[in-house]
């Protein structure tokens, strides 16, 4: 009798344990009525605002597509998982969770580090991947992955070309984050292109993730080297500190940055008058006057408590819209497998005749390598708002 009790206890506990594991995920459960878009990004942690912006924009875009009749009548739906911008297991966990939720196409991931961790997985599973904002070159090395944003090397090259062509400066200092893939990626190509174009980099100053509050050493090095332009391939939080500290060090060069500087004007408790004259290459500025941007900003603000969308949101919105366009063309339906969809979309997006006019550029085209070609817009901050950079502005800044 005792023995029976004992065996019973063991079997029951074993069964419980098994059902617990098996119950937590029952393979790919799929809602067969809709085409499921999956995305992973940071909803918690340091980079959370990027993930939240992308999530909001995807929600908005999916709603817009569905309101306009969906994909030939089939509705879109989306799932979003938190990857904490992790570069290892958490990114893969988020990806696997998306797969369990029946993802057929991926608009993700938001950050470069996570994207590098999942590209081999999407390749293995043959899932079409269109990342709104993971910008490293390595992200698109597989043929199933495409970018909405510029590749880092293109940004570095574009910046160097722009500075050289418009003769903005001859002596350049660079302050970059050597622990960040985005920042050092831009810096590496900027440096080689600048050398090719005959620009003189007089100071190369770096900082790391752990020392991003005091830049006085980097600033005085740039100042002592007599640089008349400081190139900042970094994110706006650090840039705002650099601007403030340059001001107190009485150093007034021209500042030039990439899309990471987008957001400078919306920092709380920051004297935005310091940003006057800062130039940046960015695909999207919320203050731009064209109709499409205005409509998007208004919709976004109405839906999310008056928050201004940033470049990540615009990229994600474009990403979903591009997908919707391609799906309509290819006649994608909800019951197709992810792999079949991938094969079709891969061909369709790199088709020579396909181009898309979106928020982040007109006439966007993709090559088979996965990189997007669109014109970078150079903007300057004038009177507390972004405006297109004109010849007069350049003359004014070089005259200083």
């Amino acid at each position: 009798m005792k023995n029976v009790k004992r065996i019973l206890a063991l079997t029951v506990s074993a069964a419980l344990a098994v059902s617990c594991f098996a119950g937590c995920g029952n393979g790919a459960k799929k809602n067969s009525d809709t085409i499921v878009i999956g995305c992973s990004g940071p909803l918690t942690g340091d980079a959370a605002q990027y993930g939240v912006a992308v999530k909001n924009a995807i929600e908005l875009a999916v709603k817009d597509v569905n309101d306009a009749g969906g994909i030939n009548g089939t509705k879109l739906s989306y799932v979003f998982e938190d990857d904490e911008a992790d570069s290892g297991d958490k990114a893969v966990n988020a990806y696997n969770a998306l797969k369990d939720n029946g993802m057929q196409v991926m608009v993700g991931t938001v950050t470069t580090a996570s994207c590098l961790a999942v590209i081999e997985k999407t390749k293995q599973d043959n899932i079409f991947q269109l990342t709104p904002s993971a910008s490293a070159q390595d992200v698109i090395k597989n043929d199933n992955c495409f970018q909405v944003c510029f590749t880092d090397p293109n940004q570095g090259k574009g910046s160097a070309d722009y500075i050289a062509e418009n003769k903005l400066a001859t002596k350049i200092a660079v302050i970059y984050d050597s622990s960040d893939a985005y920042s050092s990626g831009i810096f590496n190509t900027f440096k080689s292109e600048a050398e090719a174009k005959g620009l003189d980099i007089v100071a190369e100053q770096s900082f790391t993730k752990d020392s991003k509050t005091d830049f006085s050493a980097q600033i005085s090095a740039a100042k002592n080297a007599g640089a008349d332009l400081v190139f900042l391939p970094i994110y706006y939080q650090q840039a705002s500190l650099i601007l403030t500290q340059c001001k107190s060090a009485n150093y007034n060069p021209t500042f030039f940055g990439c899309d990471g500087l987008d957001g400078l004007l919306s920092i709380k408790n920051f004297d935005t008058s310091l940003c006057e004259g800062v130039m940046l290459l960015t695909p999207f500025a919320a203050e731009a006057q064209d109709q499409a941007t205005q409509d998007f900003v208004k919709k976004y603000k109405d839906a999310y408590n008056g928050e201004t969308p940033n470049q990540f949101a615009a990229d994600a919105y474009d990403g979903v819209m591009v997908l919707a366009e391609l799906m309509k063309k290819e006649g994608i339906t909800a019951d197709m497998s992810a792999s079949d969809i991938c094969d079709k979309l891969k061909k369709a997006i790199s088709d020579k005749d396909f181009s898309y006019d979106g928020l982040t550029g007109t006439g966007m085209k993709w090559g088979e390598d996965g990189a997007v070609s669109k014109d970078p817009k150079a903007v300057i901050i004038k009177n507390g708002a972004y405006s297109a950079l004109t010849a007069d502005d350049i003359a004014a800044s070089t005259a200083q």
């Binding site: 594991f21 570069s87 290892g88 920042s183 050092s184 590496n188």
Partner: protein, 364 residues
Amino acid sequence: MKKEGASAKTKFFKPQTRKSFITYAMVIVAFVVMQILSSGGYISSMLTGLLVPLCVYSILAVSLNLTVGILGELSLGQAGFMCVGAYTSAIFSIVTSETIENVWIRFPLAILIGGIIAAVFGILIGIPVLRLKGDYLAIVTLAFGEIIKNVFAALYLGYDSKGVHVSLKSLSNLNLEPDGKLILNGPQGISGTPNDSTFIIGAVMLLITLIIAYNFVYSRTGRAVMAIRDNVIAAESVGLNITKYKLVTFALTAFLAGCAGALYSHNFYTLQASKFDYNLSILILVFVVLGGIGSIRGSVIAAIVLVLLPEMLRSINSYRMLIYSIVLIVMMIITSNEKTKTFISANTAKFKALFKREKVKEAE
């Protein structure tokens, strides 16, 4: 019939042997169950993806428990050792992926190299650091972990026909020839590590780690280490070489952490140094503390529960981190509160009695 024979035999085992064998059995059973479930396709792809990380974190927790629980010193440099193991083994695998094609030779070699180099770092760090005590040791190991992370994040490494190129500044300072191969790309880390880690290898490594840990604890060295933990002066007075025993434990911890790092890096295609920050060290310390300081089985269970928990809570999305932290706090209170402790031990005694009664009879 067989079972009874086995249970009769266990009487002759020492309690510690029985304890360790139960732990091994738990790991083996868990492995077999997961293997059967996954071959039948009953588990989600998320859980399948988690199997190797679960082994990695368990190994890390067990190895840190040797320093924290057995040696009684607080070390916050576990992520640093893991980072060394992960990077060196990944570099080894990438370089030799063409010359040694057999995975079953290459991967164990990579794990060993990762472990040994991490152990060398452990000894180098240990010599000056182990003369410090308590908080100071924690601070220095924390700093060590950060240094390792930042060095790897700034390191560019490549080779071409002229030999190996190393730079700590930028990619262009590397002066790599166009046909050269870039191995380490600064903050973008390593990509192209062969995905050699499998659940089988992970489970075997966890088992080996447990065998090493249990045998270490119950060995002569282990007893000496525990004597040092309990009273340094008494241990010294009976002639124990304090520095030696501390160093041995520290090096063993580093070795196992390095092996875990190798397992980790070969599970993913890319590896970035930013992963190995102090948050990871503290996470591993949380496993150890929650599982019970000094309890090896507890470390494994805590690691598995705490890695699984946030992933299982994904369905409640934005609240999952909140729930995770509440669970942590509740578990800490329950395991440290005297009243709850007596309540739990009383109930476990009852539960155990269900199994033991028969044996008592036999003994009578």
